[in-house]
């Protein structure tokens, strides 16, 4: 195995791990947030407008963590700085 093979295979495994671990946490958090919001709406249906707005913003903030993981995975796969370094 030369250096290029090692870097490329390590990048693929790292990208897979980034998506798997980076998706796990936000998925649980999103489920929790939705459950709590539905619970709150069931108790106080008249406040559903405010709850939904806070839920949307909060979900976007949680989801952006998963998106960061996705962007990092993309950088590893398609714009990897290490491969150019090895090829030089």
């Amino acid at each position: 195995m030369d250096a290029k093979t090692v870097v490329i295979s390590a990048s693929i495994i790292a990208a897979a791990l980034v998506m798997a671990i980076g998706g796990y946490g936000p998925a649980r958090a999103l489920g929790r947030a939705l459950t709590e919001a539905l619970d709150a709406i069931a108790r106080q249906p008249e406040a559903s407008d405010k709850i939904m707005r806070a839920l949307f913003v909060g979900m976007a903030l949680i989801e952006s963590i998963a998106i960061y993981a996705f962007v990092i995975a993309l950088i590893i796969l398609f714009a990897n700085p290490l491969i150019g370094y090895i090829l030089k």
């Binding site: 707005r53 949307f56 952006s64 996705f70 962007v71 398609f78």
Partner: protein, 221 residues
Amino acid sequence: MKIFNIFPETIFSIGPVQITDTVITTWFVMVAIITICYLATRKLSIKPSFFQEILEAIFEAIEKTIKDIIPLNPWLVLPVLGTLWILIGFSNLAGLIPGLKTPTADLNTTLAFALISFSMTHVIGITTQGLKGYLLHYKEPTWILLPFHLIAEVTRTVALAVRLFGNMLSGDMIAIILLGIVGLLVPIPFSLLHIIIGLIQAYIFGVLTLVFIAGGMRTKS
């Protein structure tokens, strides 16, 4: 052929300025918005026509959202924010037309939008409460937190850009990958999901900008 176009392709360049396919799609979106608005507002009347009614509904929704979040005259932020909302919404949906690339699936576009939102926060904070009053909000609740406020100014702007970029790019990539695996009918539900995500992301971009603006004037309330 490159399947995954993360980076924009340069079509032609004027001097040092490169005109990429993203820019051309954005021009197309702008022309579409201007044409729709021109055609819909040509014959305004008290009894609204169908298109006029749609435009009024969109406008009232924007005004109501702004009024709900910041306790100000909505006309301070409405022109810029409404433009951002409508432009991002149309740009997110532009990728559904075959042959066009989603302009917001390019980090340059979303960074430009985020910079507009960043400057808006400061300009509106300074115009509403003066330079001194605005700078004082950085020392809330104590001076110790000042560096964190300064870091947050940068990170939340970058986060705003990367969130929109990542969402739009992932939608496009899912469509392309599914098209490679199963060609017929299966990508359609994902395209529907992409429409919903595009509209929600445009809404969230504006709402987060509003929340940042409201956060900048905490000293007054």
